[in-house]
């Protein structure tokens, strides 16, 4: 059993180790190790495309995470009190939105938005006052964020709902019994109880969005996210620069994960 576990961990980590190792390659070819150096880190960091892609991904992922945790939590709370046909409708939509493959979401969003924009742009141009440049609707940040949020929002709804379902109803009654108004009960009792689920949903949404390639590939328009950049450099032919980026992303997410863990533990301690 133990040996099996060790084998699985090796299976999980050897590829990651190789990426890290080759990121220190002194040679120009990704597939041959010729001495160690950090030159590729320098190259990656000074490459303006990498920086831009990183910022784009970060902005998109943060927005997606914030939007989905806010809207998802709100919806989960509302659905709790909703009954009848509306409830069935929303349940169905949530089910469909998590079940549809990302690639279909990407394609359908692309096709729909292009169609809508093709329809709206001439109208905008015609009603815009003479002389000034009419705004042109196009793919970009907004479309990526909207498409990502569809999936991650449903994820948050499911997670928060499960948490609410597992919550002891008597706690809310106890709070009301102790003179707290419904609002105060919400932020003093309900919110602290569902907070871990919201936090988990936030983190999951962030990673999903930051890592997503396929949806962004279709709807990002002229913008390049980090996964799109990595994908195209792999396609162009591999240089250790990709390894350096990958290693930095890996280390970055590890640091984030550990900070989050540490902060939560500190919070538990002080309370």
């Amino acid at each position: 059993m133990r040996i099996y576990a060790i084998a699985v961990y090796l299976f999980l980590y050897v590829p990651i180790g190789i990426i890290v190792l080759f990121s220190f390659n002194a040679g120009n070819h990704a597939s041959e190790l010729r001495g160690l150096s950090v030159q590729w880190y320098g190259k990656a960091l000074s490459n303006p495309f990498v920086g831009d892609a990183f910022i784009t991904s970060l902005v998109i992922a943060l927005t997606v995470a914030v939007l989905s945790s806010l809207m998802g939590t709100a919806a989960a709370l509302a659905l709790q009190r909703l009954k009848g046909r509306m409830r069935v409708l929303f349940d169905g939509l949530i089910f469909v939105s998590v079940m549809i493959p990302g690639i279909v979401i990407g394609i359908a969003t692309l096709v729909a938005l292009v169609t809508v924009f093709d329809f709206l742009n001439p109208i905008l141009a015609s009603i815009w006052p003479e002389g000034s440049q009419a705004p042109k609707l196009h793919m970009g940040y907004a479309s990526v964020i909207a498409a990502h949020t569809l999936f991650t929002m449903s994820l948050v709804i499911i997670m928060v709902r499960a948490r609410i379902a597992g919550m002891d109803r008597a706690l809310i009654e106890a709070s009301m019994d102790l003179y707290a108004t419904p609002w105060r009960t919400f932020y003093q009792v309900t919110l602290p109880q569902i907070y871990p689920a919201i936090l988990a949903g936030f983190l999951l949404s962030f990673t999903f969005s930051f890592d997503d390639f396929i949806i962004s590939f279709f709807v990002a328009g002229p913008n390049t996210t980090l996964p799109i950049y990595i994908f195209s450099s792999i396609r162009r032919g591999i240089t250790p620069e990709v390894n350096a980026i990958g290693t930095m992303v890996l280390v970055g997410s590890l640091i984030l994960l550990m900070t989050a863990q540490y902060l939560m533990r500190e919070r538990d301690k002080t309370k």
Binding site: Y4, L12, R81, V111, I238
Partner: protein
């Protein structure tokens, strides 16, 4: 009383509006658009031109290979991941010393938190000419091809989705009260029987959840076959990228997308109904 329930209804409506709008504009509308497109004509320069034809649906056979590939690799890949993941989850939940539990668990999850793109890319190295094959060469097995084979794709699948499978199974096994196991062995069941009659049935919700998650993701998979399958093993996802971005045959691509969605709806609903009946708990929402 009346007043209160009225303001309550208002609150519910306000809380649900953004989500409702999102579903309407980002889910329902796009699906309707591709449904309409799937019955349209291909414009001469690519893209879409109006019209009504069933030609694209009749022509699905042209991409039959993508469908059969996806529909075999997705279940097989799911099953393989399950086979690899279950013992590990069992080990983590039941066998391992409390002290190392958390760190070992985090080690399973960390890869999941790093880009699938980069992780899959690593395997291009390992399976590529200068990786494992060259080592095999050196040992004496010459000319072994690893990359761009069905095996490479399946391995990429197991590698990519292992954490997603381990985690729900771990959670359901962890919830399983140790005293059940003790009770079972106290009642004279052998370890094997205990596993078959107690552990396995009680971990079914986690298994069902994990399988469903992996299966759903595999049905739309693009990266793994693109990187590790070369042109040989391709999924519906690869066909779609090709149709929309290279040959720009939007109506045909839409027809394929709609077909994929219908297949997913049917299989996933059937699957959920089945697991729901078999184990009363069914797919465990709290794990998702």
């Amino acid at each position: 009383m009346k007043e209160q329930s009225k303001s309550n209804r208002w609150l519910t409506a306000v809380l649900l509006t953004p989500t409702g709008l999102w579903f309407a504009f980002m889910l329902v509308l796009p699906l309707i658009v591709i449904l309409v497109f799937s019955f349209g004509e291909r414009a001469p320069v690519g893209g879409y031109a109006g019209g009504f034809t069933l030609e694209h649906y009749a022509n699905l056979g042209a991409r039959l290979k993508a469908f059969t590939n996806t529909l075999t690799y997705a279940p097989v890949g799911t099953l393989l991941s399950l086979l690899v993941a279950y013992p590990l989850a069992y080990y983590l939940a039941i066998k391992v010393n409390r002290r190392y539990k958390l760190i070992l668990l985090v080690l399973v999850i960390v890869p999941f938190w790093t880009s699938l793109l980069i992780r899959t890319y690593a395997w291009i190295y390992i399976l590529g000419g200068k990786g494992l094959p060259s080592i095999l060469d050196w040992i004496g097995f010459e000319g072994v091809r690893l990359i761009n084979t069905p095996g490479a794709v399946l391995m990429g699948i197991v590698y990519g989705y292992l954490p997603l499978m381990v985690f729900p199974i771990y959670v359901s096994l962890e919830k399983l009260n140790k005293s059940y196991l003790e009770a079972s062995s106290d009642l004279g069941a052998s370890p094997y029987k205990t596993f078959m009659q107690v552990t396995l049935p009680l971990s079914m919700p986690g298994v069902a959840t994990g399988c469903m998650l992996v299966f759903i993701l595999l049905m739309g998979e693009f990266l793994i076959p693109a990187f590790l399958g070369g042109g040989k093993v391709f999924f519906i996802g690869n066909a779609l990228v090709d149709l929309f971005l290279q040959s720009r045959n939007w109506p045909f691509g839409s027809a394929i997308s709609i077909t994929l969605v219908v297949i997913m709806l049917i299989t996933v609903s059937l699957y959920m109904r089945m697991t729901m009946r078999n184990s009363k708990t069914g797919v465990d929402e709290s794990l998702m």
